[in-house]
Amino acid sequence: MALRTESFVLNIGPQHPSTHGVFRMRATLDGEVIVDLEPVFGYLHRGIEKLAEERTYTGVIPLTDRLDYLASMSNNLAYVLAVEKLAGIKVPERAEYLRVIMAELQRIASHLIAVGAFLNDCGAFMTPILYMIREREKILDLFDMVSGQRLTYNYMRVGGVSQDVPDEFLPALDKFVKEMPGWIDEYDQLLAENEILLARSKGVGILSKELAINVSASGPVLRASGVKWDIRKADPYSIYGRFEFEIPTGMVGDCYDRYWVRVQEMRQSLRIIKQAMGQIPSGAVRSEVPHIIRPPVGEAYSHIEAPKGELGFYLVSDNSIAPYRCHIRAPSLLNLTALRDMIIGWKVADAIIIFGSIDICMGEIDR
């Protein structure tokens, strides 16, 4: 005789120790298995796109800091690249190198938090995330030296960066780059062959290649599914064409692959920073751009490889001091489109892990 069961709706609610930010999942459960899932967000909507229409082009830069607040340098970079494409402004060499160094350091910091939070969701009681935060503190100290801030840097400007780095920056960066690979190796050794981690994340939450391309996933999520697409190689922006690095690609698209891709990307970022440090010239850090920019009428879309995926800015200008329309293509929003497909059939504990492995940031989803 078959057992008659009834499914019930569980609200993995906006206030929860483990959803990264205010995110709500309405899950329909049958026992422990999830049969349906509906993501609900919008709890952090601040109307950044509308606010951007009221501020000057330079005044939008602090707004972009708050999009993906764990990767502010990348947000700034994407925006100023879009404005420079729209207005046809060229950037001096030293500023380009500084931008690349900051963007890659930011990628390492963001991936440290992503990996740490993923392991925290797996249940390893705060130990890995505290180790990762300890390393991230060193990166934040470097950023503090450069911009005076630890989280929302507001460092890039249209036409370059806002100020030159102090003298003690490059030696400190050198020290960091020498020590960091040892730390990554140590964490990898502790975690990569851990039986419990493998049992919890291998084969869990598989995103197939076709589905990943169809839902416009990008970043580590897309690469873990087997698609070798990185904007730094496919459509190089700034001076990425001058550096040698590889693109780690996963094979299956499960949670373990996403974790592995992020760890490898950290190593590649260190490689890029080392090359950039060797080639950085001296000179101006900002080209002569007026305070209030009036780009000609037109529109431009430019995208970068942010830590979470492809971050794009679409700007429309009507020759006034503020953008006519500023649209932000948020990587986390599109990566979440396949959440339902990835989670159905798994259990509640896996839902938390799969969600953590996508690595979203509510700031850019809700904007």
Partner: protein, 146 residues
């Protein structure tokens, strides 16, 4: 480098299949009529020389007479990109066909445009507000909202 395809060339190809679909083509943009958007998009996705399998971005802009929706398409294999545009006139109940059946990535983005701009997407399976709360009156991103 991702090659942005020239709008003029692509418009010629499209016009061979769908004779009166294209309104304008300039720079890297192709402007199509909103009724034929779905067929043109399907052709661009499935034809082997274009093969646009990746939808990068959907945006909508409010020019006072019309709403313009901009679709950025990319082909991962050929590494080229195209910008497809379409317009819908009138401010009361602007509608556009939905392309969710071709690219599922359009799901959340079309819901957001519906929420903030007010354009309805015909054929979207779940057109609920995504960013604003239920019961919110008005469409904030329109130029006449504030």
């Amino acid at each position: 480098m991702t090659i942005p395809l020239s709008g003029w060339e692509v418009a010629k190809q499209i016009a061979k299949r769908f004779p009166d679909a294209v309104s304008e083509a300039y720079g890297y943009f192709v402007l199509v009529k909103s009724e034929s958007l779905f067929e043109v998009a399907q052709y661009l996705k499935s034809s082997p020389e274009f093969d646009f399998d990746y939808l990068t971005n959907i945006t909508a802009v409010d020019y006072y007479d019309y709403f313009e929706a901009i679709y950025q398409l990319t082909s991962l294999k050929h590494n080229h990109s195209l910008v497809l545009k379409t317009r819908c006139y009138g401010r009361d109940n602007p509608t556009l066909p939905s392309i969710v059946r071709l690219w599922r990535g359009a799901d959340f983005q079309e819901r957001e445009i519906h929420d903030l701009m007010g354009t309805t997407f015909k054929g979207h399976p779940n057109l609920k507000p995504i960013v604003l709360w239920q019961g919110f009156k008005g469409h904030p991103l329109r130029k006449d909202y504030l």
